[in-house]
Structure formats: C-alpha cells, structure tokens
Symmetry: C2
Subunit: 252 residues, 2 copies
DNA sequence: CGGGACTTTGAGCAAATTCAACCATTGTGG
DNA sequence: CCACAATGGTTGAATTTGCTCAAAGTCCCG
C-alpha cells in the first residue's frame, strides 16, 4: 500500500538521524534537509551551518519556546509536528500554526518570541543561536532570500487563516483545515486523502477558533454526509474531496 | 493644540510632495522616507531606488491591487490609508490589514498577490517593479534585512490578529482595534488618544470578523461606559485607556 | 483490566447575526 | 440655497450559530 509510507516516515526519522549522525554529516540525513533554509546552501557550505547547530530533544507535550522569553534561537523542525500558540490573560488560547518537517520557528519581534511552542509528539529540533545565524546570513545571501521567501509564504498563510477565523462557518473551517493539512502532508510525501491528525480535538478547536464540542460535532456531521471517514481519532480519510473543497471555499 | 498636527499631516503631504518633487530629490520630501525600506539606504544610494520608482495616483475607493493579478510590483504607501482584503466566493470579505504611511505592500506568494488593495482616501503610492527591486536587494543587503524585519513584524501582527479573530469577544476586538490604531497613529506623529478612523464601520467589521451593526453597538456601549467619546464618525477619543487595555488583553 | 485523558452527544443558553426600520451627513442639481 | 437622494450609521426585535454545562462513551497505556 502506497499510503503506508507516510506513517512510517513520520514516526521514525528522528531515531534514524540519531544513529547516523555520529559518522555522516548531520545534515545529510536530516529528513528536512531539502525543505528548509538549509536547501539554499551548497553541501560544502553546510559545514558552517552545522557547527552552529545543536540537536535538541523535546518530549511530547513539552514547551520548548515560551511567549515571555527573549528570542535567542531559531528552531528547525526536522520531523513530526509542533504547535505554536498564544495565550490570553484568562487562559484562552489561540493556536497560530502547526509546524511540520522543514518549518522554521523563531522569527521574532522586538527581541521576544510572541508565542509559545509545544511538541505534539516527542521529537528532535535543530536549534541555532540567533546571533550566529544572523551572521551567517551576511555570507550567504541565498539563505537570506530563502528566509524572506519563507516569511512571505507564512504571511500569505496567515492571511488565509484570518479569512477562515473572521468569516468562515464552523463547517467551512473544518473543511479548510482538513484540506490544507492533507495538502501539506502530501507535499511531505504522504497520501493525498489520508490525513494524519497528531493534535487533539482541543488543539484543532484552538486553531480554528471553535470549541472541542463543535469540532467533534462537525466531524460527525461530515461523516454522516459521507464526505470523510474517521479511521481513528488521529486519522481522517477524505472521501468526497470536491464537496469539501466547495465547502472550504465558501461556494455554499 | 498638539493633536491638530496629525490631521494636517495626514491630509496634505501628497500635495506637498508633488509641488517639491520637480526640484528636489523625490524621496527627500517623501513623508514615509524614514519609515519604510528606504530608511535602510544612505541618501546617496537612494538614486538607484528612485529611478525604479513611479508615483501612482489612486483615487478614493479605487482598487489598485487585485487578488487575481500576477504580483509585478511592490507598493510603498507614503501617506493616508489603504485597506487590504480577501474575498470568499459568495462575497464575504476579510480585511487583513489597514496600511498607513511607510507600509510596504506587494509581498507575494507563488507569483500572485493573494489579496486586493483599495485606497480609503485619494492618495499617491510609490510603485516599484518587482524585478528591479529584487535586483536592487542584491546590492543593498541592508535593504533585504529591513524587508525581512518588516515581514517579521507583519507576521507577529498577523498572529495577534488571529488571537483577536479566534478568541476575543466583540468588545475585546473593538478595544484592541482602537488601541492598536491609536498606537500606530502615535508612532506616525499623531496624538495618543485621538484616533482617526478613515475607514467605514463596515470596513472595521470586515477587519474584526464582525458585522457593521455589532461594531456600531459596541461603540455606543463603550461610549455609554465613558471609555470613549465619538467625536465624529471618523474620530474616536480614548477617555479611559486603562479600562480599554484591560478589556483588550482579556483581563475580564 | 482499570483509570485517566480524550471524545462524543445532548439540552439549554447567549453572543452576535439577520432583518428591518429609522437617523445623520454629505454632496448635487434644480 | 435648499431639497433630496445616496451613502453610511444607529437602533430594535427575532433568530441562529456555536458555546456552556453535563453526562456518557472510547481509547490508550500502564
């Protein structure tokens, strides 16, 4: 089965990496090598990047970036998934993004992260001191361009998310979320219609501006319509992509 | 009165600019000179930037960027205000930002703007062909850094807006909007507590994920509490900043 | 197998929307 | 210069979508 390659690829690469990194160049075996800023560098230049690099192990549920901390590091997510969120004084939470392999974290504002980050599953992240990376950027303009391109993409995604949060109904939000998550996982080598959901319903709710109950209700509603199949709590199969797409884009 | 300097500065600079630009360097008199990417360049290097530059007149209500067009230009807003928005198939609209003097527009994704932009009042924008500016960036790394910094700031603002749209109540949204608009205008040389609102209630609603009616109701509600004064439809005076700040940050 | 965390389902509720009417401001042509 | 149309803003009543509160069902994982 073709689709079985995704779950395997998503749960194993960190261990694989750890085994080989002692001998080979650590970036050679990095599952995110081709996806992230590192792709902007020639293999012989990766050395300087690698010396600045530290692999940090993060356990499932651990917060490795806190909203209040000074932004001293960039983090490269090499595998698995991470959630990025902000909190309101009374505990209300908005998840501003889920990050997967190749995503860069740590773009800061006024010296502070203005968000927290937590691992959805145990994973390793590739960490760079901000100062060192910033200095590296002076010598590798391609990397700076890449960074700018990544920021542009994130900005476009953020605007799309504002549209979702400000103007879409609960059903439209869930449909949009399932499709964009599916697209993302397809780009990372997964199946087109099997969507892995490493986050809880409550995470999804906090990402979409809904409550867990509503997320759950909409999932069952879409299931009853035959548009999705709930394989397990953390896997959804898209059955009627066209219907979901119409829903997601507001074609009523 | 100190605060009178803002309305003057916000309504006149374009004409001022037009008068002097024939003689002086066009960027010298640009009201956004110190605020935008241009600030990253020495005065003697501005020449190359200026040759790429075209001043484009935009009438009030005119759309000068369309969601569907290829992203061929960057635009520098030198004065006044602009709204940036996205549309859903059935006409629902999400305004993703209001831009003021010094703001740059045109960061693109996959070759297209993914948003439209419309002038709130008649104004002139400073336009650069994308290709030329991109080439310029190779020679002026400071400018590229500045661009990255601006994108980072926008990203942080976008995350803040996601929090607002996903988790704040109508009252909290309006309070946040008034305060952030006030801050912004203060940074542009305006008064701390007199907030100019060059956009309609409907624009505010589409920015905050509400309806015009709700925006109007919340304004009157805040007025009744004595926290704001409605000087006119397009000017609000902040009377109880602390109360608004508590409201905006969710301190119930 | 048992217990805690997560998810689903149900019933009632509330914040914000919809629909509708009215008011204010502005600009235009008679 | 004024009447009045047009646009934008406010207010009210009814409605609805999604939320809150509550309880029961599932799924892991030890």
């Amino acid at each position: 089965m073709l689709s079985s390659s995704l779950p395997a690829a998503m749960s194993e690469p960190v261990r694989f990496h750890a085994v080989l990194s002692a001998k080979a160049h650590p970036c050679d075996t990095c599952p995110a090598r081709a996806l992230s800023i590192c792709a902007a560098m020639r293999i012989e230049d990766l050395g300087r990047l690698a010396t600045a690099r530290v692999t940090q192990r993060v356990e499932a549920g651990a917060t490795f970036i806190d909203e209040s901390e000074p932004a001293d590091h960039y983090f490269n997510i090499t595998a698995e998934a991470v959630k990025v969120y902000k909190l309101l004084a009374d505990g209300r939470r908005q998840i501003t993004g889920f990050l997967f392999a190749g995503d860069l974290l740590g773009i800061a504002f006024k010296g502070g992260y203005a968000y927290s980050a937590e691992a959805l599953t145990s994973l390793s992240v590739c960490r760079f001191p901000r100062r060192q990376l910033d200095r590296l950027l002076d010598d590798f303009p391609m990397m700076e361009k890449r960074l700018l391109a990544m920021a542009s993409n994130e900005l476009a995604a953020a605007q799309e998310q504002m549209m979702l949060l400000g103007r879409k109904t609960a059903h439209e939000r869930i449909a949009s979320f399932l499709l964009s998550t599916a697209d993302r996982q397809e780009r990372l080598g997964g199946s087109r219609d099997r969507v892995q959901l490493p986050m809880t319903r409550s995470d999804i709710a906090d990402y979409l501006g809904l409550t867990t109950e509503t997320v759950s209700r909409v999932f069952t509603s879409l299931k009853k319509r035959g548009w999705i199949l709930l394989k397990s709590n953390s896997e959804v199969q898209v059955a009627e992509r066209d219907a979901l797409e119409e829903l997601a884009t507001g074609l009523e």
